[in-house]
Symmetry: C3
Subunit: 466 residues, 3 copies
């Protein structure tokens, strides 16, 4: 897309001359015939990289993303102060395993990155089972699953394993081999900007620090990548500037915020993406303030687009008020920034038993659900792009639509009724205080039908941007 800077007089790209915006969701599916397959393929490519909040796993993941969008990769040195935090040492894993008294290898990080407690310090030691126990993590309630555990800011080491294995370990002397490095390296994150006609920014953020797991968080990385690719491929620059950030959780968004204080002042709307592939209904976690641009856009789309098709749950989407616990919305919505950012996903962290275990694998996610998430998010971006406030230029009585060719005669075909209602609603409520989205909420008519009606009325000289 063109990278020319739009004129400064119109920060939101909301100029009166460009009044017609094609819907992002019409025409051939912008993600191709099989977006679900595309997303799964990308997730499978990224799955093996040993992700953590720093290190080569993140770099390899961002390199996969960069095959689809021209990602800019940032490296921030260990020790850099970021808000109240400091960028930690970089962590990398060469090898790690545990052998039992008979020499049998109990677990090996080469089999599954979850086996190693994240940020384990290097260890070469022999010890009794009793001394080892505090370093073993398992799930008695889900004995066949490996848990996901980390210890980023307390030096520690450990192995995560299935409880059915942990419970049967024989007494004796164990050998611990953990060949990791904690060095003055850097924290890595990626960023891709789709310039808009204005500088007001839509932020799309996803974390890139979870190893292996498919729903949390490969699905978020893949969907964010596809949304970015779709927007970048549009012939017309979007109204807003879109900024896609791929950051390690917590410390990554804190680092991004510390380095982008200028951007935070012009965030029009934002979404944190994760958990987009499981079979639950959608969950929208509202921004801290609630009722912001993004809350209204997402809630409208969710109200108007019940998910259908193969695998759809038929359950209504859930709207959840902000709480200061979860993913990076915690940082974007911290009271100093208080950005209009919410979180979009399906099942919520901690609510499904596969969460943060080895059971969050490729059997847990579904191509149709991934495609449904992608298409719904595209509708959300479409509402952001097309929502605007108009003013009726002939507000005294109804204008005579018939003589302007906007109204049919007798026996009009089915479907035109919704269109004619769209004309009447736009004229009635375009008093400078209601946007297209507001009118969609009030009327129950579809957002795109109203936006199309507004374009037709503007072409006939009956509406002007407010």
């Amino acid at each position: 897309p063109p990278v020319t800077t739009p004129p400064r007089t119109d920060p939101a790209g909301d100029d009166a001359t460009v009044t017609t915006m094609t819907s992002l969701t019409t025409g051939p599916d912008p993600a191709g015939d099989d977006p679900g397959g595309w997303l799964l393929d990308l997730m499978r490519v990224m799955a093996p990289h040993p992700r953590s909040i720093t290190g080569d796993g993140v770099r390899a993941t961002l390199a996969d993303v960069a095959k689809h969008i021209p990602l800019v990769v940032h490296e921030v040195p260990s020790g850099t102060p970021v808000l109240d935090w400091t960028v930690p040492r970089e962590w990398n894993v060469r090898s790690a395993w545990l052998t039992d008294p008979t020499g049998r290898r109990v677990v090996d990080v080469a089999d599954n990155p979850l086996h190693l407690l994240g940020y384990s310090v290097p260890v070469e030691a022999r010890m009794s089972l009793d001394d080892l126990r505090p370093h073993l993590f398992s799930l008695p309630d889900a004995p066949d699953r490996i848990p996901y555990r980390t210890s980023y800011y307390n030096d520690n080491w450990g192995f995560c394993l299935a409880d059915e294995l942990a419970r049967t370990l024989p007494d004796g002397t164990y050998t611990v081999h953990i060949d990791t490095s904690l060095t003055e390296g850097s924290l890595t994150y990626g960023e891709f900007v789709v310039p808009g006609r204005g500088e007001e920014t839509v932020l799309v953020s996803t974390h890139v620090c979870h190893p292996v797991m498919a729903n949390d968080n490969l699905s978020g990385i893949a969907v964010a990548t596809r949304l970015a690719a779709t927007l970048a491929a549009r012939p017309q620059a979007p109204r807003f500037t879109y900024r896609f950030v791929f950051v390690p959780g917590t410390i990554g968004s804190i680092t991004w915020l510390a380095r982008n204080r200028d951007v935070t002042g012009r965030v029009h709307a934002g979404l944190v993406l994760t958990g987009l592939g499981d079979r639950s209904a959608f969950t929208w976690k509202r921004s801290r303030r609630g009722g912001t641009t993004i809350d209204r856009a997402v809630e409208l789309v969710l109200a108007q687009s019940a998910e259908t098709g193969p695998g759809a749950t038929g359950e209504p989407a859930r709207l959840v008020d902000f709480s200061p616990y979860g993913y990076d919305e915690r940082q974007y919505c911290s009271p100093g920034f208080d950005l209009p950012v919410g979180r979009f996903g399906r099942g919520q962290h901690g609510e499904y038993p596969e969460y943060h275990t080895s059971a969050d694998d490729f059997t847990f996610v579904d191509a149709d659900r991934l495609a449904g998430s992608y298409r719904t998010l595209l509708q959300v971006l479409n509402v952001l792009e097309r929502d605007r406030t108009w003013r009726n230029l002939a507000p005294y009585g109804e204008p005579q639509l018939g003589r302007r060719g906007l109204y049919r005669g007798i026996g009009s075909v089915m479907g035109s009724k919704a269109y004619e209602m769209g004309l009447l609603w736009m004229l009635s409520y375009s008093d400078g205080t209601n946007s297209v989205g507001d009118i969609a909420r009030r009327s129950g008519l579809s957002f795109d039908a109203l936006a199309d009606a507004a374009d037709a009325l503007a072409a006939a000289g009956l509406l002007a941007p407010a």
Copy 2:
């Protein structure tokens, strides 16, 4: 009623000296012993006139109304610009019929005005059934009913007939005879003003353009006439000026608005009336803004007066938000005017199968339902008249009502409890921000009981107009 202009210092007639207003709804029924019969009689007299948006049918209808109230009839010449529209040519029908190949008269407007497409141009022609078909309108889903159809602003002609007849027409040559005139005449509407003690105006509007049909709209014309007659017969001038307008739909209200821009600035409340005789529960369609004077008055009356008696449905009244589709509220509530006007009726347009067909006849309406509509509307006007905001002159602690004779001793008779509660509620909430209607809504006590309590407290020097 006296037509003297009240002094300009009190536009709403809300002077402090006139504090006691008799309820409009007490005493002998102001519509006589049988308001339902009275309304049906007037509807039957008006039924045969061939109403349309212009022409002699409207004039004859207004002449019937003028037998009960001193109506002023306005004629606005064809071609007059009114807001975004132009007054159309005047349409009159001398005769119109269709004969089949055997010479049998298939339909004749002399049998039912609905048979002729409204505003049909003159035609004398012979044509095949195939050429005729596009000019025949019937209802396959209601094969025994004649639909009501018009083509005001596209030159066209046609016949409306029962589908069971339309389906059995033999092939061959048909003779079309439509002897109508479209001339540079005028649009006709009627207006009657009941001067009030103030100039703030209550608008009551009903359309007069629908042929034959009893519920839509003979019932509206009749009830508006009776309300006007009742108000005009009151010994005391009302607080507000009441303006009853009898206009053809859409173009009539647009014409009235274009010619009464000064009045629109002082509309305190307004009602569009139609569909008052069918057996559905009441429907209140709110004004565009909602929560205006008229919305609050109607919603209070509907909440406090469940309809009872013979034929009552027992269903709760429906409150419907404004939508820019319906009757003349579309014009009064267009965003440039945005008047506090809603629509009062029973079944809603399009929701009952008899709507806009020959089945909306005198079997479809009911004397008791007509009387119930009339009495409920009188209660609404009563609330408008008596609702005002008072100020407690002894606001520190409760005043001692006993020594002022306002409170009973031990063993007080039943019923006085409600009266004493009315005194306490009026004293407690008359802080200058709550009107009698607000206090009725909050307390659940009846509006008239509270208004009576306020009058008693004012007489005792404990309340004054705020």
Copy 3:
């Protein structure tokens, strides 16, 4: 407690230096091991005094209260103007009885103070049953109960008795003996002030004019006394000044208001107490304005503390909007004062059949319910004391709690989760607009848990008073 006046610069005692306040509800039960027993004992001591709105019964009752708190007793002479009223003559009873034609004593006030109509004038007379009947009061629907009746402001006399007795009285001549006095004496009320660190005042009011009855109103007097004793025994002066008033109903609160106009201007919150011992769920009658400090505190406590234990109903507490009928909240909430005062109790006046009859006795109240009322009210005072608004001093991103020792590592113990959530909620919403109570309502976390988290964050330098 210390009675030194706090410095004037901090009317609410809300100084930044005192940030940690111990919960009123933690530690050993401040009412001792058996508050229910304590309350019942005091109620039994006060029961026999012949209370009315004036007279020696009130004085004896206040003397019992003064054994537990240093009550100041005020005497206001008959004839004193108080707001719209005048302090009435003082009424005392020496003896009163009625004998039937056979000389049998039908009723005697010595058996039950309810037998004499309150404020009966002195009478010595013989009369027929017919002449006597208008002076006999009974309850046909509850024939075994003596009703409670008064005639304060109309000179009258009478006897109250069981209807089963009244119905069987033989014809003949009856002897009426009523030896009462109505003299230029005084109205008596008690007041106890617990000075706070600030002058902003919490008002706790209970009436002291009902004879004999246990729930209405011995329970209110006892619970108010115990709350006052508990607050006075605290080692630290409370944040607010607490003013406990023991007044005869209506005329007493009117007298107090007339004499304390300066105090009314600094009432931070207030409660009228009565009906605290019956077995109904709690009822909170909101202040006239609703949503005031006291409404929010009580509604939070009721939402968070479902009553449990022996005899608990399991019913949810009831929240009732203000109405100008009830107890002394009528006076405190009269529109001139409009204080943030509501009424706390269990069953409401008029809703339980024992109300204002001899059946409101010690079988009708329950030690556990009394203790539950007391403890719940202590929680309300605790919320008033501890609720304040903080400001996050590190609002950009989340502060790193781990390095401040506020956050646990892996495998944190159960329970600490709620504590950590409390830290996050306090940080997220302490933007200067939300108090601890607001955050409790929003998060569903317990008020004391959040207040404790706020204290810990303040100690770590992360929060400061807003």
